[in-house]
Amino acid sequence: MEKILRQEKLREWVDTLDDCEVYAPAFADSVWNFARVEAGTDIDLSHTNTIGSVKAFTFPQREVFFRFEKKDGVPVLTPTLPDPKPTVVFGVRPCDGRGMPRNDTVFNKEFEDPYYWARRNKLTLVGLACNQPHSPNCFCQSVGGSPHAEEGLDILMTDLGDRFHVKGVTAKGVEAMERGRDAFDAVSDADQTEVDKVHETSRSYPQRPIGDLDAISEALRESFDSPLWADMAQHCIGCGICTFLCPTCHCFDINDEVISPTTGEGERVRTWDNCQFPDFTMHTSGHNPRGDLGSRLRQRVNHKFLYFVENHKTQQCTGCGRCITECPVGIDIVAVLERVGQS
């Protein structure tokens, strides 16, 4: 389904989703981030990319698996599977959209993650194509995506100035459009031509090149023991920005949070974790298979461009560029790949 939505009708459409929690980008504290759209507030889709990725909607920073307590000395476990309202997220950039199926893979393969899926099944992603890259660090096209990629999105919107072109990609997306059908207009030939042109133009902007992805995987495989890694990580401070902001980083930790040591009450909680933290892989004995920053940088890059490819036949990275832009010390995954490729 393809429709035209005039700018001023956006709100009308959103209002038809009244049984849903609607999120859209908002500019606050000098950063764009997804925020709850309250009734009667404007939705501003002039955003660059949000600082946090859309992954938090299915993989929140804190997920309680279950509560535990002791009753008559016996542990009683109460699972806390989430039961969220249907959630619609507007303004999802295609790179984030492409992250979603990659995460789906992780949380589905071998063992299905019920917490992830409880949220995922209720989530509708309304994408917004990028008419031009908003950052010099965008490289979606270098990893097989595009500024108007539909993968992972339920709806793709394209900004045509005074109006949006809206395309229902999945059944879920179409259904969301159906609900607001009165807000939409039909797509004229001129509209179609303009959309195609906008898409074409958006693809024409230069992006950070990576080159042949297979060759990169091979180069990574070959350079596992290369001293390059230590060199490239020389200024890495080992923080978690790159992975926490990444739309496809999914590593987590599980901990017991005690509420009362006396009653034995507590919660088993999943939190985001980060391959850049030293204790991430450290054995209790103190032995650490990835004990230095170089090996941890390698893990991050290899995961995106080698291991994920080996396991799932596609790059995990979707080229959003957050890890580059937000790195406090200028570590640049594209430059890293370039150096590895040249070595």
Binding site: F27, D29, S30, V31, W32, N33, S46, H47, T48, I51, G52, Q61, R62, Q132, P133, H134, S135, P136, N137, Y205, Q234, H235, I237, G238, C239, G240, I241, F244, L245, D253, N255, E257, V269, T271, W272, N274, F277, P278, D279, F280, M282, T284, S285, G286, I324, T325, E326, C327, P328, V329, G330, I331, D332, V334, A335
Partner: protein
């Protein structure tokens, strides 16, 4: 005015004479318009050094890293390290010396005076550009074009600006400096590095942009409930990526008391010690746990924070972390006449006292 060639020559000279094993400085990076840290080890690399209002990092962090590397290395290279240091960076080195983290002879401080200006706050710039990215950031002289490769002489008013080109829109705009300079620079009390082996640039006193502790004082002015509303929101937004801690040269503890991603485990560490590690707060990124983390960090930096503002700069969600630290530095200064990093011989703030310390708050 700082001529970057002088810095390059000096760095090259140190390396050439073998007085240092490396020089920590800034170079242009691939990731953004902002300079990135670099460690140069040979004369030829000196040419890549830059100096401009995008040299944000406090490189003293890498002195700490060097120290940690030496500690685990079987063949540590103990030669001194050269470091390009702004006023705040040199204070950081001062605190590290005060705390015996290394010795004065381990470091050659290539001081660079900010000449009464400062560095650009990327987040302020981003706010100006509503999230768009700057592709080029330089100092402008009275609205004219920038001086390539260097900074303008210290101006005496706030009229000078920052030239900014926005990515995707290559026209240059000039933004008044005071609107995009980092808060710490606006409030800076000592823009020239007092601790140094050489200083480039004029020792211009800190320019009167904002009074010291201006931002903290502003924050204090809010009502209690407003203050909590503000900080609750911030603590709630925290991702617990620990970038603030990772970037702080004073957060050099082998293991963080509050939320450790760096367990100190040796062969001699008993199971009991590991089992009994205190969890003052949980890893969950929620308000209460993040509050414990940030408050602990603030109190542990009391009298140690030298206001380089790195914690605030790196925060991906832009929590004004610097406020917590400057609040305490303000108290230290006003109530205890203590300034972090000013005297490497003094006993630190919390391990000293005066009879006339405030007492009236105690029942």
């Amino acid at each position: 005015m700082v001529n970057v060639e002088e810095i390059r020559d000096y760095a090259a000279g140190l390396l050439e004479k073998g007085e240092v094993k490396s020089v920590l400085g800034f170079r242009r990076g691939s990731a953004s318009a902002f300079a990135e840290p670099c460690t140069i080890t040979n004369v030829g690399e000196a040419a890549s050094l830059v100096w401009d209002p995008t040299c944000l990092n406090n490189l003293a962090l890498y002195l700490v890293k060097d120290r940690k590397q030496q500690a685990v290395s079987k063949t540590p290279d103990t030669r001194p390290v050269g470091i390009v240091a702004k006023g705040c960076d040199s204070r950081a080195i001062g605190v590290l010396l005060q705390e015996n983290y290394f010795k004065r002879e381990d470091v050659v401080v290539i001081g660079v005076s900010c000449e009464g200006t400062g560095v650009v706050d990327p987040r302020k710039l981003s706010a100006k550009l509503k999230g768009r990215t700057a592709s080029r950031v330089t100092f402008a002289v009275q609205g004219s074009t920038s001086v390539a490769g260097g900074r303008t002489p210290g101006a005496t008013d706030g009229a000078d600006g920052i030239n900014v080109s926005v990515y995707g829109d290559e026209t240059e705009t000039v933004i008044p400096a005071r609107e995009v300079l980092a808060d710490r620079c606006l409030e800076c009390r000592a823009a020239a590095p007092a601790l140094n082996d050489v200083v480039f640039g004029n020792t211009v006193e800190a320019r009167d942009f904002n009074e010291p502790f201006h931002a903290a004082k502003e924050a204090e002015r809010l009502s209690e409930d407003e203050r909590w509303a503000t900080w609750e929101r911030h603590f709630d937004r925290c991702l617990r990526c620990f970038a603030c801690r990772a970037v702080c040269p004073m957060c050099y503890c082998p293991e963080c008391v509050v939320d450790s991603t760096t367990f100190v485990v040796t062969l001699g560490t008993s199971a009991e010690e590991k089992a009994n590690r205190i969890r003052w707060c949980e890893r969950s990124a929620n308000t209460s746990e993040s509050a414990v983390y940030h408050l602990t960090r603030a109190i542990h930096l009391a009298g140690r924070c030298i206001d380089c503002g790195e914690c605030e700069r790196v925060c991906p969600v832009n929590i004004p972390l610097r406020l917590l630290n400057t609040k305490l530095e303000k108290e230290a200064f006003e109530m205890f006449e203590y300034q972090a990093g000013h005297d490497i011989e003094q006993a630190s703030l919390l391990s000293s006292f005066r009879d006339e310390d405030p007492n009236s708050f105690i029942r």
